[in-house]
């Protein structure tokens, strides 16, 4: 279920390479990311944890190309290409998928229609022929089952009137269909009860593969009980202040984020330390 692990296999292709990334909010100039360095290889699952306001979601937004942020320094390479130079839809077509913390409702647009349009945009970009409605229904059948997406949910308007759990299941279902190379999961566990969390996590784990990298952003370690990360980073005040293996997540759960901040202050360092 958990697929391959690739932490130590340096020969794996570098999927995402973030170097000294600084970003601020366009409107008021507040600096949120203050020099992020992070490398993720194909097959790896990295978790980013951190207290509220540490810059977790900003990182997800900057990587996916959302308006409203300005990158002031650093660069991001995705499969060796300049990610920040690409429009959001090009990033998506190139295989970057963001599972939204708050999936958006689109009234009057059927869930399956939306996803087929989306898949065809991706396929076209990859030089594949567009897929028709019949073949599409066949393609999504198994994936819908995996995420327990009932027929009624598929026919309804995108996310309209969906429960929190249904929205998150829909996100991972979309990810399963679009088959991205890099999946960024932004607070996928927020607002989920334990049953919904299990379904979503099962879906995510089924999508782990040697060709795919995942960046799991979460406030709580709860999700990481289901999705075991290869590497855990702790983000505080716009910097990665600690990196370790999954035991780091447990340590955080036990001691709280205050511990990191206290330790960081004591050591007077911002560099990544522990390595598992």
């Amino acid at each position: 279920m958990n697929g391959e692990r690739g932490t130590s296999e340096k020969k794996e292709m570098t999927m995402l390479q973030i170097e000294n990334l600084h970003a601020r909010i366009q409107d008021d100039g507040t600096e949120i990311l203050k020099g992020i360095d992070l490398t993720i290889r194909a097959g790896e699952v990295h978790a980013i944890m951190g207290p509220n306001g540490s810059g977790k979601s900003t990182l997800a937004h900057v990587l996916s190309g959302r308006d409203g942020y300005e990158v002031t320094a650093g660069r991001v390479l995705y499969q060796g290409k300049d990610l920040l130079a690409m429009a959001p839809e090009i990033r998506a077509r190139e295989g970057v998928f963001l599972s939204f913390q708050y999936p958006v409702e689109i009234p009057g647009v059927a869930n399956t229609y939306f996803l087929r349009m989306s898949l065809n945009a991706v396929r076209k970009h990859r030089g594949l022929p567009e897929i028709d409605a019949m073949d599409f229904m066949e393609l999504i059948e198994g994936k819908a089952k995996l995420l327990e997406m009932e027929d009624a949910l598929m026919a309804r308007s995108v996310n309209e009137g969906f429960s929190g759990g249904e929205k998150k299941r829909n996100e991972i279902f979309q990810m399963a269909v679009l088959d991205p190379k890099l999946a960024i999961l932004d607070e996928t566990d927020s607002g989920l009860d334990i049953d919904a969390l299990r379904v979503v996590a099962t879906g995510i784990n089924a999508l782990r593969s040697p060709e795919r990298a995942m960046l799991v952003i979460t406030h709580y370690q709860r999700l990481l009980n289901y999705i075991e990360p290869d590497v855990v980073h702790v983000l505080a005040d716009g910097r990665i202040v600690k990196t370790g293996d999954r035991t780091l997540a447990h340590l955080l759960e036990e001691k709280g984020y205050g511990w990191i901040e206290a330790e960081g202050a004591a050591a007077g360092t911002t560099a990544a330390v522990a390595k598992g």
Binding site: E89, Y102, I106, L115
Partner: protein
Amino acid sequence: MSSQNPVLEELTSQEYQHGFVTDIASDSFPPGLDEGVIRKLSAIKGEPEWLLEWRLKAYRHWLTMKEPTWAMVHYPAIDYQKIVYYSAPKTQKDGPKSLADVDPELLATYEKLGVPLEERAILAGVAVDAVFDSVSVATTFREKLSEMGVIFCSFSEAVKSHPELVRKYLGSVVPQGDNFFAALNSAVFSDGSFCYIPKGVTCPMELSTYFRINQANTGQFERTLIIAAEGATVSYLEGCTAPKRDTNQLHAAVVELVALDDAKIKYSTVQNWYPGDREGKGGIYNFVTKRGKCAGKRSRISWTQVETGSAITWKYPSCVLLGDDSVGEFYSVALANSFQQADTGTKMIHIGKNTRSTIVSKGISAGHGQNTYRGQVWIQKGAEGARNHSQCDSLLLGAHCGAHTFPDIQVKNSTAQLEHEASTSKIGEDQLFYCRQRGLSNEDAVSMIVNGFARRVLKELPMEFAVEAQKLLGVSLEGSVG
């Protein structure tokens, strides 16, 4: 969040696709209007004396009237003496005969507009009356329809071949003096479509009229009259386009529908008159009076409109629910982009017992467009058990457009039940980003969101035209951001 998007700027400058001019010799009146013009028009058409008198009565009444100012539309005063009231292709002087006689230049024009007039097998589901400037130039499938007793021809021809029907119903729904523009139309209407579905007949194909304005400075004043006799059913569609010009042109039409006992009329419009350029220069002034009378018991009249064109749209397709248990429906999508102004809505007049009406209005505003919904629901004293449900939704794209709603509800019978729902929303950055993160281009995303917003109305259109209307909505405002 910023409201400006370069893609929006680029895409809202989409070229109007039907803006070409057909180079064809025409016989036109000089500009201007007086009784002489009306007499001349009536003479050209070989009209009976009663119709000339009817026109003159309308004209004299019009002279006493003032242009209405209550609508949320602003435009410089129209000089009615500068308008040409009649213009017809020279080759069409004697009116339409068989398709073989139609000027090839005209056939080519309609082909280019996507409305081929040949009776091809593939288009067998739709009969077309083609109105070019002031006259009808061709009507297809007439023989096939007449086998079932359906009369479908130009208005001028109906005056000659079915004068008793025309005389009985003309002005029976929209009286000559109903309003300023209806009175003007009654005085100078030059042609239009006529349709009669006899008792018990379900019309075997969609009927449609395609209106084309070609000549400069010419007003188009057409009149459509549709009568569905007891138990008859018909679905009718109209489409409209015009060349791109810097000057404004007036289109003032009247449509009258009559439904007798158990008759059903479905009237759909895809209005794509030239909307003017991005600065608001040129475009059609569309002042139209459309009204249906559910005269019979259990009759039903349903209006569906997709209004994407015109510099100004002023129209309120309405239903007079006279017969007991009759039903009126109004489904509308109106779009105002650039400097377009749309003031549109409906009137549902409940007179009979247990009459029901449904109003679904979807207004979309972009650029500097102003979109107004204006609706009246009147429940008269005798309308025991009347019901109405109204839903008015507005969607805003961008920071410079406007949406306005003026509902007017008057109830004089305490057994009536009415509901009114309204909403205003903006296409959000969130929605657009969500779509783009899934690989959709900005323009595809806007088109998808707008079509989703309008879906409830679009699905009321006949299949053949629903697809067309969806594309039109996409082309007309792709790329706007809220």
